[in-house]
Symmetry: C2
Subunit: 217 residues, 2 copies
């Protein structure tokens, strides 16, 4: 291990939920080893390790990326990894007390339960590259399901522009990276100006842009 | 507010995800006010407050139960509520360090993401009261999806009988209350003896039994 690392290892490519963790790690500015693990369907080179290979299953038996190793602690689940990183290394990006910690955990579960499946449907629909993807029944139903949670998000963000503690935190990273999947649902963002403003602001951050380049690279 | 309360209020009936929180609160033995909020489809009396009524939407704008108020902190999402309660009031049921906290958060997201939707399908199928519900394509597909996460759970539980820190914690409550929905998938439990032993042990705890009675009452 290089002398500059803290012993932190993040497993998973940017084009996966590992992007959430790569973004936060970049914001935190702490050294870590990025171990490239790809999904089986993204394997293009014979020596690439996939999430279903034995050596990775020893780290995450679910065969999913991302995973984090920090000394003797192993954590899976991208949301849990970010909440852990926020608590341990986050400074002002992490919670300052148990109330904020509870709120950050709440928003992370909220994004998972209320938004993620529908947002991914929007993402997959928009990736189809068909010009009228927003008019397909599948995309329309997903956007319709997202209306109620976007309304909740709108109210929360209309107060201070951020989710917890009137500042940019792990909660914004975790929620924005779910809303990310719905980013092409233009009509939805138009209906919720505080959400649109917040999403534009947090994704304009240089560390997000950096990780987007990793994703596209 | 009665002098015996700590200011904690838990909103939601036992026959909902609030059961997770009612069980943990019972284990913790701390006083709290239980505010009966019902789902719209469970409303039977004219004065019952539902999760879609204005007075509850002021607490949880998503219109979902449970919700927790602890002084000036409001938290929705049953998993987040239990993780918060564990941190703040849990003693040995909560995490002793950030590594354990990360693991408890990880297992809670894991149960949500890997198990919950399929477990609920099993639950709904078994509630149909048809004798051959386990043979329906829907139930069989759900059980098939649960096989991989049950295998992961089996390995984790085969070591110490518990998920985190070799003792009963919030992680066991949160995961068991998702596995609960799959409890009637007998063949699945037969394949995973450590899961079956753990599930039997944690649900034999008097506080679980108490909340089951509230659920059925």
């Amino acid at each position: 291990m290089a002398a500059t690392t803290t012993g932190l290892k993040l497993y998973g490519i940017a084009r996966s939920r590992a992007m959430r963790n790569l973004w936060l790690l970049a914001e935190l500015g702490i050294p870590f080893e990025h171990v490239k693990i790809v999904q089986t369907y993204n394997k293009t080179l014979p020596d690439e390790v996939t999430s279903r290979d034995t050596e990775f299953l020893a780290i995450n038996p679910n065969g999913r990326i991302p995973a984090l190793i920090d000394g003797d602690v192993t954590i899976w689940e991208s949301m849990a990894i970010n909440l852990y990183l926020g608590r341990k290394y986050g400074g002002p990006l992490g919670p300052v007390d148990l109330g904020e910690e509870g709120q950050m955990t709440m928003w992370s579960f909220w994004a998972t339960n209320e938004c993620e499946a529908y947002a991914i449907t929007v993402h997959e629909s928009s990736m189809a590259k068909s010009e009228d993807w927003q008019q397909t029944p599948k995309a329309q139903a997903a956007v319709e399901h997202l209306d109620a949670p976007f309304s909740v998000l709108e109210t929360a963000l209309s107060k201070t522009g951020y989710l917890v503690g009137s500042r940019f935190t792990v909660a914004d990273v975790n929620v924005a990276m779910v809303i990310f999947y719905a980013r092409n649902a233009s009509a939805l963002f138009e209906r919720y100006p505080s959400v649109a403003r917040w999403y534009a602001a947090v994704t304009a951050r240089p560390h997000f842009q950096l990780v987007m380049k990793m994703r596209e690279g």
